[in-house]
Amino acid sequence: MLHIAYLIPLLPLAGFLFLVAFGHRLGKPKAGWIATTAVALSFVTTAIVFAGLFLRQPSDRSFTQTLFTWMPVGPLHVNFTVLIDPLSITMAAFVTGVSTLIHMYSIWYMDHDEQFSKFFIYLNLFVFSMLVLVLSGNLLFTFLGWEGVGLCSYLLIAFWFDRDTAATAGKKAFVFNRIGDSGFLLAMFLIFSKVGTLSYHGIFARLHRFSPEEITAIVLLLFLGAVGKSAQIPLFTWLPDAMEGPTPVSALIHAATMVTAGVYLMARVNPLLHLSPDAGEVIAIIGVVTAFVAATIACTQNDIKKVLAYSTVSQLGYMFLAIGTGAYVAAIFLMIAHAFFKALLFLSAGSVIHAVEDDQDMKQMGGLRRFLPVTYITFIVAWLSIAGVPPFSGFWAKGDILVNAFSRYPGLWVIGVVTAALTAYYMARQFFLVFTGSSRWESAHPAGFEPHEGGWIMRFPLVVLAVLAGFGGFVNLPFHPQWNFLGRFLAPVFQGTIYHQSVGVGGEWGLALTDVVMAAVGIGIAWRIWYPQWSHPSLEPAFLQRSWMVDDLYDAVIGRPGAALASFAAVVVDNKIIDGAVVGVGKFSELTGLVLRKLQTGFVRNYALGITIGLVLLLAWMASRVG
């Protein structure tokens, strides 16, 4: 039952190849259905493997499957190995599950787009790359998947490339990710130079060959990669810009799956992380600061998707806080819950944007409750979930992280709790601006215009995700050691490396109560401010609206000098020095060629002479060797 694991990434690949060949001819909506089916089958396969794994003994729930040797070069044998263990299969399950729903939703959302089949080609390629990343048994293929999802992200952000902003946003995402990738590459080089292998099992079996400093360096370099991919400080500004892509892409890639790859990578290398408490502290601090900063920015955004984007950055910050604390299960738990409620938020936002005909400014919305009944309900579920209201999933997941943080880094816990209140506040603000109050969109549309929702293709994914976002938290409950199902399932992966919090059941109740109070405070304040009145310029300072001026800072410090350097390089170095050298070599070769060409007379006698001269020279050499 487990040996079919190789099909999990293969099915989306097959879908991708099929659509490359026939997608255009199939047209809409068939191409979309093919893509959805491919991913759905992959999900079914994952579920079967998951069940197979579950039936085994906990100690026996990890196996590898070598599919092929990519290239045997000297001592380096790069195998493509599928590594199935509780961590990778859990990740694969929610990636394929959420992907299936979003593929389906996209059939409705992209209905009017001329590049319909191309969209699904990219989407299937993305799912394939993501699964390679997740299931690979060695760092190199993880990196390959890592680059693959980066490429798809770039292509999909810039999907409407005729818009300047989309093209620029794609480029920005690409550059920011490259900065992170350099860390990933250096970490791989360092690991390989020490242990001569890149497979996870191989690395973890040879941890004694690293000195503590090397471990810290490797973890921090990998974390640099994660910072780029998961949009943490200081590389976080690409993600809000990435909202230029179609909304299903934002839901799938820039909320539910790809951006969590950084978290997954850090959880995957937990044996390394365990040996470097310093690196863990750095990760926790960067995580919680990112969570806070992004939350403050989210409080002031007016674009419906930008709010969600900053919220994603903030939630990812929480996950890194958990990683840094050593609470890997909590990180994965929030990752799953986040995938559900954030995908739901984005898909609901997509429904809203569609309803008001592609306007994303929340100040131009309002009063949409009556027109979008299903979206209204699903948005409430997602909102309460992310705000941390029990019993929705976000409450449990975030609570798990905060309990661990309280136990290990009380200072960081304070920031985390304040951020929780901010989260409740900005999400409530968004809810009130979009769904309640006066219908401000009426002025921009002709009289008689009525926003409306899509059919069942669009509603079905919303409802499924709402159920998951609502009840998903029950996979891992606190208060009783038998209730943390996810924790027990993942335990073999994090054996000996996971942090055990020491607050006790009473402490857990107290902290849970704090979380509830914080959520209530956030929502209450937002209700007092934003329910009666939609405009409060004093609460939206430009400093926060422009994301703490980070982009302006980058522009001044790196962008402008960089542009000056580039133009110097282009005009002086490239044109004069390099081109000069290249053209020089070319000219020299060509002149030599023209001279040599004269020897090629076409007469056999001259050719025979050539052979004879060569013969004489070789004989002369041999004569000199006679002894």
Partner: protein, 512 residues
């Protein structure tokens, strides 16, 4: 079996004929058998059978030879290990099997890609196919040879067939000229080669490669002049066949004049045979003389790498440019030979194997674009090919990029492995020059690609409209499409997943 002679000959020792082991030479026997069968077939019928019949039978023979080679491979790699047959005249090992598979693949692709050409140019009769089969069998014998006489036999069987094939297109004057030039110079170099065999025999008392090696390892020659001169003459003979500079001057004329499919065949099979025998002679018999021959090969490699690349640069005729490019490739293989290590032999074999598909593919496209009369070979005739024949242009672009050594084609690892072998044996200068020549070579490959993908029909003049019309009228026969598809699939697939072919080359040298 012993033959007892009578009369005057009775005073000589009886001639000893070794037992014949047909199983050891089954692939070349299949080739020769099919060649004879084709000739018989044409004699049996009053009306000539269709060209397609010959093509099909030739392709079948090459597939049969591949199958027979793989059976041999299984036998020696799993059950028996390498062995020699017919008293050491034939070596049955991984190396010879790889060469047999290689030239059989080359024949298969050439047979398919020349079918349309023969119909277009009106070349009839079984001779073309029979000669190709014979030539292939010669190359196989060169790869499997255990002694110098068998190498010479293989060389002549291969070459004489090639002389005739070069002149096969009697309607074109250049074809006849190519045949004559190739024949005269080939005979010249064969004479040198035979003289080399004689001197080597004189010095060591044996023609068998293993016995020569054995003799040289056990005895110290007081005067080794005879042996060294013999070796130099042998190298000259091979250098002519593989077109190493300065023994290359026939190549551009012959490659340009020969019918284009024959050119592709020549560039792959003759080089493979030549290199196979060269490797055997240098590494088996000449192993102890390594310090004497390595510098020779070093110089030849550098001259060939640079000469091929630089001269290709100034060509405006694509066929001629590809001729020089094949000289450049020979330089790369020589880099692997010069390393004189297992890694080097590995790399050389891998290079030859992947190069076969690329070069036959390239010349196949050229033979299509050449049009009726096989003459439209100027760079100008390729302008805008991507617009009129997108698939054909994409194929040629792939083959050229592979020749340039772009990653994700087989050409990348081919160049990478030979250069790595050179670097590992501390021939840094050679490695650097090889890279430099690859950079120069990239220029002329990309120039053709650039021509194909530039100039849209809207911006063209009256003259180029004619070119575009001619391109649009080109037809790609089904057999040609299959050959191109196979070559392209091989180049791309094993470019991405190189392990199987690397493994094959690696095991072939393991069973050397």
């Amino acid at each position: 079996m012993t033959l007892h002679s009578t009369g005057l000959l009775a005073t000589l020792a009886p001639v000893h004929i070794p037992p014949l082991a047909y199983s050891a030479v089954l692939p070349p026997v299949i080739m020769i058998g099919m060649a004879l069968f084709l000739l018989l077939l044409s004699a049996m019928f009053k009306r000539q059978p269709n060209t397609g019949v010959y093509t099909a039978l030739t392709a079948a023979a090459s597939l049969g030879a591949i199958a027979a080679s793989l059976v041999l491979w299984h036998y020696i790699s799993v059950r028996h290990g390498p062995y020699t047959a017919m008293e050491g005249a034939i070596s049955v090992d991984g190396f010879s099997v790889l060469v047999m598979v290689l030239v059989s693949c080359a024949l298969f692709l050439t047979a398919l890609s020349s079918d349309g050409y023969l119909r277009r140019e009106g070349v009839q009769g079984p001779e073309y196919h029979a000669l190709m089969l014979l030539s292939t069998s010669g190359a196989m014998l060169m790869g499997a040879a255990g002694d110098l006489i068998v190498i010479f036999l293989g060389l002549e069987i291969m070459s004489i067939a090639l002389y005739v094939l070069a002149g096969m297109d009697s309607k074109r004057r250049e074809s006849g000229e190519a045949a004559i030039k190739y024949f005269i110079l080939g005979a010249f170099s064969s004479a040198v080669f035979v003289y080399g065999i004689a001197l080597t025999y004189g010095a060591t008392g044996s023609l068998n490669l293993a016995q020569i090696a054995n003799y040289l390892s056990k005895n110290v020659l007081i005067s080794n002049g005879l042996l060294l001169v013999g070796l130099a003459l042998l190298v000259v003979g091979f250098a002519f066949k593989i077109a190493a500079v300065p023994f290359h001057m026939w190549t551009p004329d012959v490659y340009e004049g020969s019918p284009t499919p024959v050119t592709g065949f020549m560039a792959s099979v003759a080089k493979a045979g030549g290199f196979a025998a060269l490797l055997r002679v240098l590494l088996t018999a000449g192993d102890v003389l390594r310090l004497d021959w390595q510098p020779m090969i070093w110089v030849l490699a550098i001259l060939t790498l640079l000469g091929g690349a630089i001269l290709a640069l100034v060509q405006t005729n694509v066929k001629r440019m590809l001729a020089y490019s094949s000289i450049n490739h020979a330089g790369f293989v020589l880099v692997g030979v010069e390393a004189a290590t297992r890694q080097g032999v590995d790399a050389a074999l891998y290079y030859l194997f992947t190069y076969t598909f690329v070069v036959i593919g390239s010349f196949a496209v050229v033979s299509v674009v050449g049009g009726k009369g096989d003459k439209a070979h100027n760079l100008e005739e390729y302008k805008g090919l991507s617009a009129t024949q997108p698939l054909l242009a994409a194929m040629l672009a792939l083959f050229l990029l592979a020749q340039a050594g772009i990653p994700f084609t087989t050409g990348f690892l081919a160049k990478f492995t030979v250069i790595a072998a050179a670097a590992d044996s501390h021939s840094y200068a050679l490695a650097i020059i090889a890279m430099l020549s690859a950079a120069i070579a990239a220029f002329f490959y990309l120039r053709v690609v650039f021509y194909m993908y530039s100039s849209s029909p809207e911006t063209s003049t009256a003259g180029s409209m004619g070119v575009l019309r001619a391109q649009a009228a080109l037809k790609v026969p089904a057999t040609m499409a299959i050959a191109l598809g196979l070559a392209a699939a091989f180049t791309l697939f094993f470019g991405i997943v190189p392990a199987p072919v690397i493994d094959f080359a690696h095991k072939a040298t393991l069973l050397f």
